[in-house]
Structures are given as C-alpha cells and as structure tokens.
C-alpha cells in the first residue's frame, strides 16, 4: 500500500509540495496539454495544490453543537459533530461518545468540558496528535448571552455560557469551532 506524503490535515504543516505541486513542476518538454478536454496542465495542478494547502491551513478541526442539561442535572447531549476525521448528526450523551468523537462532561450550570482523543487517524490510517490552538463558541437561542472558552490542554476545552446579566446560562445550547 502506498503511504501518502506529509501528515494529516490537522497538523497544518501541509505545503503545496506535499500534494505534488513542486515549484518547478512543468509540462514535459514544455509542451502544453494535448487535449484540453482530457488533460490537466502542470500550471493548473500547481494552483490546485497551492489552494488546497491554503484551505487545509485554516479549516477547523471540529465544529460541535451541544445542549447542556442543568435541569436534571445530567451530562450534555451532543447533537452534531463535523470533524476532519468524520461526522455525526446523531444525538449522543456526552459521557458515551461514539469512537473518535469528543466526550462532554458537565461541570455546572452552563459549564462543560469537551475532551477529544489525544491523536487521530486520517482516512489512510496515518496518526497525528491534535493540539488545540484556536476556538470560538456561541450561545444559541433567543436570549442574549455569550460563551467563553478555556484551552485546558492540547485536546481539552472548557466552555462557560453566560446570559447578558452575567448569570450562568442554564440548559444552554452551544456551538463551537475548534482549530487543533
């Protein structure tokens, strides 16, 4: 089996060369496409590689939507996860995540911790660790409020949701994007 070049997308180390877009790539013998309906030129291929590397650099690692359950109280419910390693739109309890998806635990009203695995495999089985670098979270619903986040460690994030008056947002529904 052929091993793909470079490292998985979330390491954000990809350059155009990883995809074959070497700087000096050129059509052989400087001859252009034979048939434009069946061929891809070196220039077009280099552009594809460069733009793909650019997109990979800024694409989020995961986008998560969850709902806190402070009334019971119980662990939050995760509604959807779009992750570079896979997606799910089936609800799951935060303490029972499907393999590869983050666990979410309740700390208090509007206060949750999201924990991912330390490393992940890409579609070819290449393993690379994650290291959370950026995040932003929003409070969903019709009441004004905000969500602050705290990067606990390389794969753990803590979220706290507040209403406009500064009180903890009970049963908050939160959407978060994470770059790891």
């Amino acid at each position: 089996m052929t091993t793909p070049t470079g490292s998985p997308a979330w390491t954000r180390s990809a350059e155009a060369t990883v995809y074959g877009g070497h700087q000096n790539k050129r059509d052989y013998q400087a001859q252009g496409v034979v048939n434009p309906q069946t061929d891809v030129s070196a220039a077009e291929f280099k552009r594809l590689c460069a733009d793909l590397a650019a997109v990979v650099r800024v694409a989020p690692f995961a986008v998560v939507r969850l709902s806190c359950d402070d009334s019971t109280p119980a662990e939050p419910t995760v509604h959807a996860v779009f992750q570079q390693t896979g997606t799910t739109t089936t609800d799951y309890s935060g303490d029972n995540p499907p393999e590869g998806f983050p666990a979410v635990t309740r700390n208090g009203d509007g206060d949750v911790t999201i924990a991912w695995d330390a490393d992940y495999k890409d579609d070819y089985g290449e393993i690379a660790p994650i290291a959370i670098r950026f995040a932003q979270a929003s409070l969903l619903g019709s009441a004004a409020g905000s969500v602050v986040h705290e990067i606990v460690d390389d794969h753990t994030l803590r979220l706290r949701a507040f209403l406009a008056d500064g009180s903890a947002a009970q049963d908050a529904e939160i959407s978060i994007e994470v770059w790891a």
Partner: protein, 371 residues
C-alpha cells in the same frame, strides 16, 4: 492518467483504479476544493491584551496566504484589540492578491462572564472590544475576498472533461516496450541500471513526439483546441470577454464550427441546446395563430392572417435568477442570435423569450410596409 515516470505532465485523465485518475474524480476534486475555498476562513488569529491594557500581542496565526506576512496587532484608544491586515497578500504561487476583509467573528477565552463585539472597518481593520476589561485572550476568525473569486477553471475544471481515449496505456510505456524489444536478448529487462535509465529517458522523449502528433490533431478542430483556441475564436468570430473561461469559449467555437443550415426543427433544437445547455426549454414555430396571440384585424386576408410570424422561430429559455444578469444577456442577445442567424434560412425570423403568461405582439416591418 497514470502516475510515475511513464506519465510526465500534463496529466491525462483516464479510468481510475490503482494507477489512474478519472475525469469524474478530477471534477469532483475541483468542485469540492472550490466549494471549500468559498467558506473556509481566510485567517484565524489568537490575540492577547495584557492586564494593564498596554500591550497587544499576536499569539498564534494561520492564514491561507504566505504566512511570512502576518497582520499587526495594536490597542485602540479604549483598550480594544485592533488587528490590521495589509491591502494585498501573497499566495502559495507567489502572486500578490488584493485583500478585503468581509466578515469577522471572535471567541473570548476566560473563566468569567464577558461580552464582546467585533467590527470590520475599512482598510482591513478588525476591532475586538469587550466589557470585561483587563487581560484578554481571544480567537478572531476572518473571512475575506482575496483576489478573484475561485473558479473550477483555475484547476483545469471543465464540464466537458472526459477520460482520454487515446493514451489509455501511456505512450512512454509503449515506446519503452518497443525499445526493449529492439534491444533484443543481449540486454536485460531489469528496471534498474544504465540500460533501463536510457530506455526510460528515450521513451519519454519519444512519447513527447506522440503527444505532439495528437496535440496537432486536437488543435485542428476548435472543440479540442487549446494552443490555437484564440485563432479559432477569431476565425469563427465568436465574441468572448476576459472573464469567459476557456472551456466556455471552446464550447462556443465548437457549436459555431458545427453549425450548418438546420434541415429540420429537431436539428435546430440540438444545436441550440449545445449552446444554451439547461437554459434551453424548447423551440416554437407559428404555422397558425396560437391562443394568446393578438393579430391586427386589418391584416386579415381571408383564410388567416399572413404575416412574417408564420416564418418565425421562438426560442424559449429559462429565466435567470437576475434578469439583469450580464452573462445571460450576452448569451441570448449575442451568441444565440449569431447562431440562429447561421442556422436559419433567410426567409425566417427568430427571437428568444422567457415563456409565461402574456401575449406576443408582432410588429413586423413588412406589416407596416403593408400599411
């Protein structure tokens, strides 16, 4: 297309499998890349303000551009964080592209309640203001218009792309086999060593000759032309704007090249469809007045009104989302008219319409002449 030494650039698309990349797979790649590029952020920055609100720092940054060019971070008059990007940034191909920040969102770090706002100002300035005051760390995500909007054509994407039928087995490999056979049994067939290296180099050079021959044949017709496409466009008098992708120019030239006087309405429909694609709804002719038509009664010559409309062809097209769409107007008022002018006989008139309720008013110069 295959990969490796026997398949130098340009890539030739062919059936997939272990060593190929099919046209369908390639088009999916270009489409998804273009789609992703439209929605992913332009840049993500992690910024920091110290507790005394005296220092602003860029802690971390990723961007789609050459990352040696980072934005600057400063503090506003009220302690807000101000991030400024330059007017142009270099891409991975070394090209400077103009930049205009259009959207910004932010996420604030912390353990206590805070509220914040983000503003995009002129000059690619993004300002983050919060109510908490004091030390602040936040992630700012920006989206931007960076150079021209992405198009599949930038990557060679083309709705008419197909698998190559001619180089199913790479020319270079065929030559390699020929050279090996010509060497005879005195030489080994191992894929290493100087004999192999010389065979490989020679076979690649001879493949370039084979490809040159095929390229010549492809350029003799506009539908598969690339090197001579501009010459074809001028020869066929096909207008084109600087925005038109090459595949569209190629398609229009091919339609014009194939256009001939249509002997029947079905032939006419086929050729008009080649030009309009899914905008084409149908063609109507008017042998007799149809419901909804208003005929001037003064022109009644007895057994039905004779008018130039009897030799009229009406092309029904699908309305665009924006009736002021420049591209649509160019398509139906320039390219379609020129094509119909070529296809229809001299005694026939034609027009296009967006079908719907209403009536057609026939104001023919012949009718006025009759007055």
């Amino acid at each position: 297309m295959s990969f490796g030494a026997f398949c130098p650039m340009p890539l030739r698309l062919r059936d997939s499998g272990a060593d190929g990349w099919s046209a369908a797979e390639f088009l999916r790649t270009t489409a998804d890349l273009a789609a992703a590029e439209r929605t992913v952020p332009f840049a993500v920055a992690r910024v920091h303000r110290d507790s005394g609100a005296t220092t602003a720092t860029l802690l971390d940054y990723v961007g789609r551009h050459d990352e040696s060019q980072e934005p600057t971070v400063s503090l506003g008059l009220s302690g807000e964080l101000v991030v400024t990007w330059p007017d142009a940034l270099r891409d991975g191909m070394g090209q400077d592209r103009p930049l205009r920040i259009t959207h910004a969102t932010a996420g604030v770090e912390g353990a206590t309640a805070n509220q914040w706002s983000v503003e995009v100002g002129p000059g690619n300035v993004v300002t983050l203001a919060d109510t908490g005051g004091g030390e602040l760390a936040a992630t700012i995500v920006v989206h931007a218009r960076w150079g021209n909007p992405v198009r599949i054509e930038d990557y060679g994407g083309d709705p008419d792309k197909r698998n190559a039928a001619t180089e199913a087995v790479p020319y270079a490999y065929e030559w390699y086999q020929e050279l090996g056979a010509a060497l005879g049994s005195a030489y080994g067939q191992q894929t290493r060593g100087s004999v192999h290296a010389r065979r490989l180099a020679l076979s690649r050079a001879l493949a370039a000759v084979s490809r040159a021959d095929e390229r010549y044949r492809c350029n003799t017709v506009p539908g598969t032309s690339d090197a001579l496409l501009e010459d074809w466009r001028q020869c066929l008098a096909v207008p084109a704007s600087s925005d038109d992708p090459r595949w569209l120019i190629r398609r229009r030239c091919a339609v014009k090249y194939a256009a001939r006087g249509a002997a029947s309405i079905p032939e006419l429909q086929e050729q008009v469809y080649q030009l309009l694609g899914d905008r084409f709804l149908g063609i109507r002719t008017f042998d007799d007045p149809i419901p909804g038509e208003a005929w001037p009664s003064d022109y009644d010559l007895g057994s039905g009104v004779w008018a130039s409309s009897r030799s009229r062809i009406l092309v029904d097209v699908k309305a665009p989302a924006d009736l002021h769409d420049r591209e649509f107007s160019n398509l139906v008022n320039v390219h379609l008219v020129r094509l119909l002018d070529t296809l229809t006989p001299a005694w026939c008139v034609f027009d296009w319409t967006i079908p719907g309720d209403g009536f057609f008013l026939d104001i023919s110069p012949l009718d006025f002449t009759g007055l």
